[in-house]
């Protein structure tokens, strides 16, 4: 028995070109979609990273302001806030037992309180305890405003972040602003003088 020659199927050059064209179009679409996804992914990641930095900065600030005895705004060398608080920890980093002198309590030496500074350098914010090396706690910061409210009883902070969105080689941006108000719980009004 003979097998007819025409029974073995193949593709013509036209079919091949059509298939390649469709394939290229499909791959192009996939590539474009993938790149869009990648850009979107990177942008959202940048946004989330900044959101996390916002939360960290806000949480640090709130914690230090809450436990401070006194808060000062501004200062040289980019200092935006200085929180002065009791020296709660001893030399080994363990909590001290508070003491009272007459009618005033203290942790450690009242003349040597713990000072925490928040320093802005460019788009970075650093936190510094005592004279320890500053630790970077946030990046991509566009603007920071710190205000004392109600005679120093509370602190309002407004921090604007600048997540980056890259597109066609250029960088566009959309800022996000976080505003917090925190009470200085250990605030004691200075005694008025006669």
């Amino acid at each position: 028995m003979k097998i007819p020659l025409g029974s073995t199927r193949a593709v013509t050059i036209v079919e091949l070109m059509i298939a390649v064209t469709i394939g290229v179009i499909a791959l192009g679409a996939v590539y474009t979609g993938a790149m869009s996804m990648q850009r979107c992914f990177a942008a959202s990641q940048s946004f989330l990273d900044d959101s996390r930095d916002q939360s960290r900065l806000s949480d640090y600030l709130s914690m230090d302001v809450r436990r401070a005895d006194q808060v000062a705004v501004g200062g040289a060398d980019g200092v935006m806030l200085t929180a002065t608080m009791q020296d709660y920890y001893d030399g080994n980093g363990l909590p001290r037992t508070p003491t009272i002198t007459k009618y005033v309590h203290s942790y450690g030496d009242p003349a040597a309180p713990m000072v925490v500074k928040y320093i802005r350098t460019g788009q970075f914010i650093y936190r510094q305890e005592r004279n320890d090396p500053p630790v970077q706690i946030a990046a991509d910061v566009q603007n920071v405003q710190v205000n004392l409210l109600d005679g120093g009883r509370s602190v309002e902070t407004t921090v604007t972040f600048l997540p980056k969105f890259r597109r066609s080689g250029s960088v566009s941006s959309a800022s996000t602003t976080l505003r917090t108000t925190t009470m200085v719980r250990n605030y004691h009004r200075p005694t008025p003088t006669p």
């Binding site: 028995m1 097998i3 993938a34 996804m37 992914f41 990641q45 989330l48 996390r52 939360s55 960290r56 949480d59 640090y60 914690m63 809450r66 436990r67 608080m85 009791q86 709660y88 920890y89 980093g93 909590p95 037992t97 508070p98 003491t99 009272i100 007459k102 009618y103 309590h105 942790y107 630790v135 970077q136 706690i137 005679g151 719980r185 250990n186 005694t191 008025p192 003088t193 006669p194």
Partner: protein, 480 residues
């Protein structure tokens, strides 16, 4: 022919295999993409959950500290306070400094992420926290714990670990194993016993009414702020604060050398208030419980008499039906020993009345607390604890039975050097006096003033008087 058929079959199978490979490849690539997105999304979700859970643990710690403060304040009116608290640590060892510990009932809420809040609070009395008056301050330490949802996976930013110190297997502070991933925050408070912190306090409206009223302050402990422990106009201070839990102070254009506080209210005629005028005041006026003494000396409450005191730990106690000082009668309180301070406690089940030039004399080194159940009516030109400190004569008005009103009326031109605490008493200063003077502090349910009255608040009372409350003096979050 058989060979050709086999070739055809092989060719068909090969085509099928290519399609399958292509599909598998597509699925693999899609899965990788999806997996990457899913992993990153889960990481982000976990981070957000960790942050929210850590923030919520502060609320748990604060709730615990509030429970501790509440129980501490309860000691002022209820001897059973702390009776249900443990005296041992979780490992069974006795708590130091007479400590008490409570694991609060779990707080549960709905929603996504963490839903449980636990708090354990310890209240103790370190010997280092005894002030210049010998009063014990307390330390309240609360640990709030919340639970991290999802698997025990660490997020990828060390800076977050430095701040939040989350516990996945072990608590980084105590090194003890934890049953499930959690966030814990520690809050430490110092609670100070407080007494008479303001010149005048009322629960209901405070009506000063008269521009001839003058209120200022001094400090009998400090020679720079008093002379021989007495008020000196040349050394007067501006801490004569007036406050109300109500929404109204009519300052009457009186001279108030201090601040004025309402509870979300208004201050009228306050042109002569030297300090701040605020509307964020509220202070619960703790009632004075009725004495439950079983040992005391019954005495008549009228006529000339001298009552002597005892040592601080065992004050001499007297009980009388009424305290009535009229005409030229003098009630004298004297020390019970030639040296040291003496203490007298008097329980008056009825009224306290004075008239004429009847007086109370509190001799040096003597401290008097009068627990009063009835009304107060002070008239005439008598002097009460004159040339002394108001902390040495404290009139503490006992909480009356429900639905019974009490009054406290001041008239005449006498001198009252005392700390008076009557949060259920309606206080009235008569309009007829021309030079009534009070050194000390006054607390009433409502206060209405009339004639010329000078009130000099002794700031020492805040640290030395009868304890009416505990207040948070220091707040600290332990974050190491």
């Amino acid at each position: 022919m058989k060979r050709t058929l086999l070739l055809r079959q092989f060719h068909r199978n090969a085509c099928r295999g290519n399609s399958m490979l292509a599909v598998l490849g597509f699925i693999a690539v899609t899965s990788l993409l999806f997996g990457a997105v899913f992993t990153r999304s889960m990481n982000t979700y976990r981070q957000v959950s960790h942050i929210a859970t850590w923030q919520e643990s502060l609320r748990a710690a604060e709730a615990g500290s509030e429970v501790g403060m509440g129980e501490l304040r309860k000691t002022l009116i209820d001897p059973t306070a702390f009776s249900t608290w443990s005296t041992t640590a979780p490992d069974g060892t006795p708590l130091p400094n007479n400590g008490r510990r409570l694991v609060c009932p779990k707080l549960v809420h709905g929603g996504e992420g963490n839903t449980d809040l636990d708090a354990a609070v310890t209240v103790d009395a370190p010997p280092e926290l005894v002030d210049g008056s010998g009063r014990q301050w307390f330390r309240v330490k609360s640990v709030g714990t919340t639970y991290l949802p999802g698997a025990a996976r660490v997020t990828d930013d060390k800076r977050d670990h430095d701040l939040r110190h989350l516990s996945f297997r072990r608590n980084p502070k105590t090194q003890l194993a934890v049953s499930q991933p959690q966030a814990a925050r520690v809050v430490e408070l110092i609670a100070k016993p407080t007494s008479f912190e303001n010149a005048i306090v009322s629960d209901l409206p405070l009506l000063i009414n008269n521009y001839k009223v003058v209120i200022d302050s001094y400090d009998s402990r400090d020679p720079a702020k008093s002379t021989d422990g007495l008020y000196d106009p040349a050394k007067a201070l501006k801490n004569g604060d007036v406050a109300t839990n109500s929404q109204l102070i009519d300052a009457g254009n009186a001279t108030i050398n201090g601040d004025a506080y309402t509870n979300n209210g208004q201050i009228t005629n306050g042109a002569n208030i030297s300090g701040e005028q605020r509307d964020d005041f509220y202070m619960e006026l703790t009632p004075i419980p009725k004495p439950t003494w079983t040992s005391y000396t019954p005495v008549s409450g009228s006529g000339n008499m001298t009552l002597t005191g005892g040592p601080k730990g065992n004050p001499t106690r007297y009980k009388m039906n009424n305290m009535s000082i009229t005409g030229t009668e003098i009630l004298t309180f004297a020390p019970g020993s030639p040296t040291g301070e003496s203490y007298v406690e008097v329980w008056v089940t009825g009224d306290f009345k004075t008239a004429g030039s009847g007086s109370i004399v509190v001799q040096p080194r003597t401290n008097v607390e009068i627990f009063l159940e009835g009304n107060v009516d002070v008239k005439g030109n008598g002097s009460f604890n004159a040339n002394s400190q108001p902390g040495r004569l404290q009139i503490l008005c006992v909480q009356p039975p429900a639905n019974q009103a009490r009054t406290m009326n001041f008239g005449g031109n006498g001198v009252m050097v005392a700390a008076i605490y009557g949060p259920q008493y309606d206080v009235t200063f008569g309009a007829t006096g021309s030079a009534g003077t009070m050194w000390g502090s006054l607390t009433g349910r409502s206060i209405t003033m009339g004639g010329t009255t000078y009130i000099h608040y002794d700031e020492a009372l805040a640290d030395t008087g009868y304890i009416t409350d505990y207040k948070v003096r220091s707040w600290f979050e332990d974050n190491k």
